[in-house]
């Protein structure tokens, strides 16, 4: 099953099982079903619980937070993650803060879904991976869709936490299949919010990457193994922040070299935060500083031949690990 379909089915199941769940976003209603068709069939089935909204990214996140505060659960789709910038205030200064700034715990079960990333030729304002800008907001979790993780479980986990979350969904990932088991070369194991992809146990190279990079990370792993004879384990967390590495402590304990890849641009990256955690944890055991693989410090151009240069490719990952 493709990731898009899996997401769609997860939303169907979520709304079916929990009548307090409401979903809103631009053009999410049928027959359109959202710009990426993730919400297909929902409005036909759940009627007014699914609302196509005006173009008001800040406003609809506020409405979602209001529903969540009042006792509902809300999912807001922002058509392109790039426009989450317009909802930054509602997320940072209202939804996230409300969980603690009133001196007691207040639940805000709100998920803001953010179709994200380049490689589709949409140009500089429709291709960004802005995850890093949402890292480290007290009271806000950052998730990223992966082909290994059951989206429905993640949505359930977020709602149960009462902490609002941004949920990044790579737009190219939508078109890829969900993954489980293995690919012949690597086994895919899912444990406590992480996927562990490896050809052998206890590799000296370990790569951490969010779900949107899976296609390219696995391609790089393959080439590394087959061409360069380097076995590298890939770790894919569903929740990017706060990051809990205890479930993969064994994998990290064996590492001599750790690499972090992400689609965001260089500078102030998620990887820097991962490295902060891991340099401390693995101090004295690594033979080199943690490697950072990201898009260059650049806008993402529209033309395919230029865009390829400014987005992370399998070869970039392979080269960094091979160094």
């Amino acid at each position: 099953m493709r990731v898009a379909e899996h997401l769609n089915r997860s939303l169907h199941a979520l709304m079916e099982n929990d009548p307090s769940v409401h979903l809103l976003g631009e053009d999410v209603s049928d027959p359109y079903g959202g710009a990426f068709k993730i919400t297909k069939g929902l409005s036909d089935r759940f009627g007014p619980r699914v609302m196509s909204t005006p173009l008001s990214e800040g406003g609809i996140v506020g409405v979602g937070a209001g529903l969540a505060l009042a006792g509902d659960r809300a999912i807001v789709e922002i058509m392109f993650g790039d426009f989450a910038t317009l909802a930054f205030d509602q997320l940072v200064n209202f939804a996230a803060k409300s969980t603690t700034m009133y001196g007691r715990r207040v639940d805000v079960p709100l998920i803001v879904r953010l179709p994200t990333g380049g490689r589709r030729g949409y140009g500089p304002t429709h291709s960004q991976s802005l995850q890093k800008h949402f890292i480290g907001v007290p009271g806000l979790s950052v998730y990223e869709m992966s082909p290994f993780h059951d989206a429905g479980r993640l949505f359930g986990e977020i709602f149960a936490s009462g902490t609002p979350a941004v949920f990044f969904e790579d737009k190219v990932l939508y078109t890829k299949p969900m993954l489980s088991g293995g690919d012949g070369l690597h086994t895919f194991e899912v444990r406590d919010g992480w996927a562990v992809i490896r050809a052998e146990r206890d590799t000296e190279d370990v790569l951490l990457a969010p779900g949107g990079l899976t296609d390219r990370a696995v391609a790089a792993l393959r080439d590394l193994l087959l061409e360069d004879e380097i076995a590298c384990t890939l770790l894919v967390p569903a929740r990017l922040h706060p990051l809990d590495v205890t479930p993969v402590a064994d994998v990290l304990a064996a590492a001599k070299r750790v690499h972090v890849a992400e689609d965001g641009t260089a500078g102030g990256t998620w990887g820097a935060e991962v490295a902060r955690l891991l340099h401390e944890r693995l101090w004295g055991r690594l033979t080199a500083p943690i490697t950072h693989i990201s898009a260059p410090d650049s806008i993402i151009p529209t033309a395919a031949h230029l865009e390829a240069r400014c987005t992370v490719q399998p070869a970039d990952i392979r080269r960094a690990i091979n160094k």
Binding site: V63, L69, G71, G103
Partner: protein, 303 residues
Amino acid sequence: MIGAVRERTLTPVSEADLSRMLRIRHFEKALLRLFEQGRLNGTTHTCLGQEHVPVAVSALLRPEDHVFSNHRGHGHFLARYDEPHALLAEITGREGALCNGVGGSQHIYHERFLSTGVQGESLPVAVGVALRHKRTGDGIACAYVGDGTWGEGSVYEALNMAQLWGAPLLVVVEHNRIAQSTPTGAQLAGSIAGRCAGFGVRHERVESPDVNVVRGALAPLVDYVRREKRPAVFEASVHRAGPHSKGDDTRTAAELAEAAAGDWYAHYTRDFPAQVAALEEIERAFIDAAVENVLARPLSEWS
């Protein structure tokens, strides 16, 4: 306009309303005094001159309604919940505080009252809350904002959604002719009435220091919001009789005199001097005692 001999212009006021207006006033005056004495930390925005608006509003609200308040929210709170000790404890970070001293003056969440300090941010949130009320009963969301807050885009995103979706949202605008230091004419083009009309949202404006007149003008609007499940905007023309926060008033003497003359307090002391004097004595003493009581408490705890 105001001659030496003057007819009474206000309608008779209930003791409950006048007491509450005076209680809020003395609460605010106590805060400014504490600041002057260096006994208060941070900042505060008092509602001097505007106390009658939340007193008028609150009587029309039901317990299940949600109120969204802003930076100038003490009156909004005290008019709804007669808990000055808890509010003062919040502002001073003492035991018994509404939010353990974490939120302070501008960030309060108590029962169905929520305030925050980012102007305009709460309107879309209130739309969401109102939509839940629409589904589950007869509750409404009531959000207070100032005139200056109409500069924020979020206000229009909220009005549009509220009207499109029939959200039972009452927006109460305390139009005090100024935003911090900027007169309304320098920050608001057109009019609030016109803006509401542009979104198809019903709007009423009242220009009176009389709590009964304000309430009377608002009552049918609250009814409309509650029954028809539609948004409405209620604009109360008021005067900010104090500084924006503490001592930052750069208005001219003439402007200050105008504000003082428009203050409901000036009108009520003129029309009902004995009633005001009697109740004021009680409220001043009550607030003074509350201040002593709260400031003697240990610091609030938060974990």
